[in-house]
């Protein structure tokens, strides 16, 4: 099983890297870009013996306790 974990900055938190990327794509002529937010993506291979419920619980715990900082970030977990 594989867990895909997306970690993104909370909506109120300034993302200077996203702003710099937005500026660059605007310079390159891409128009219509209203905002850019940069985040992190993790792919975690889980033991095939885990059922989906346990795999999801493990992945969510890792996302909450390790992969994200709840002060500034949100996360989303997909298990497949």
């Amino acid at each position: 099983m594989k867990a895909k974990i997306y970690v993104t900055l909370k909506s109120g938190v300034l993302d200077p890297q996203g702003k710099a990327i937005q500026h660059s794509v605007a310079l390159l002529g891409y128009d219509g870009v209203a905002d850019v937010r940069q985040g992190k993506y993790f792919e975690i291979a889980l033991d095939a013996a885990l059922d989906e419920t346990r795999a999801r619980a493990t992945a969510e715990r890792m996302a909450r306790d390790v992969l994200s900082n709840p002060v500034i970030e949100d996360f989303r977990v997909e298990v497949e």
């Binding site: 938190v13 300034l14 200077p16 890297q17 390790v66 992969l67 900082n69 002060v71 500034i72």
Partner: protein, 232 residues
């Protein structure tokens, strides 16, 4: 009194802190490797600056999961004095010993220069030998020093007098140009509710000798040493 300087893979201000304690404070000090779990020998622990674990994942995050940090949490809970400088401040926030987080500087640059820092409270074990409103010249060297917290945390820090240092101009003013990294309300350092844990982005340990450009950082160590002398 005895000091411990925690060393993570990637710490690079550990020797500066050690030098200041041994030479200027004139007290015994040990390096404490990150796998160590026994801090019972120490009265104060310094978490130095650097790039622990290469700043992987988030600055300070992987260090906060290391064995020694579990012991630092217990040490702080028992009233032990903890000073986190730069990466040490980031580690203290990641480990939950201090609230909030340090994110990328507003302008994205790594900022390495002497800055003006105003003493906001002298009612801490680390600042009681300084004057309220005193402006210190201290070096900073960081890319992630932009302090953020939610409104509730800010109200708590502010109401309890736990904002210890603010970035300011040479006269102590808080004009926008003096907030070098975009930190909430110019915050450069905060302390815990028990006031025994201080985290700060500027480096007092690199400013204890005039030949380094400033000796203003020595007041922090003088205060801490006086606190420890009084406690013992």
């Amino acid at each position: 009194m005895k000091f411990g300087v925690i060393v993570f893979p990637g710490s690079n201000c550990d020797h500066d802190a050690y030098h200041v304690i041994s030479k200027h404070v004139g007290q015994p000090v040990d390096f404490v490797w990150h796998r160590e779990t026994n801090l019972s020998d120490y009265d104060a622990v310094i978490i130095p600056g650097g790039f622990s674990y290469g700043d992987y994942l988030r600055v300070g995050a992987l260090a906060s999961f290391s064995p020694v940090m579990a012991s630092v949490k217990e040490f702080a809970a028992r009233g032990g004095f903890v000073l986190g400088i730069c990466n040490g401040f980031q580690i203290l926030c990641e480990s939950g010993l201090l609230p909030g987080a340090l994110i990328r500087n507003r302008e994205l640059h790594f900022i390495c220069q002497h800055v003006n820092v105003r003493v906001e409270t002298t009612e801490t074990p680390f600042t009681h030998e300084l004057r309220g409103g005193q402006v210190l010249s201290l070096p900073v060297a960081h890319a992630e020093g932009n302090y953020v917290c939610d409104d509730e945390t800010y109200a708590e820090l502010s109401g309890e007098g736990r904002i210890v240092f603010r970035y300011c101009d040479p006269a102590g003013g808080l004009g926008e140009g003096s907030n070098l990294n975009g930190s909430r309300d110019h915050i450069a350092g905060i302390c815990s509710r028990g006031r025994n844990v201080l985290g700060m982005m500027p480096h007092p340990e690199r400013a204890c000798e005039e030949m380094l450009g400033s000796a203003d950082g020595s007041g922090v160590f003088r205060s801490l040493a006086a606190t420890l002398a009084a406690v013992r």
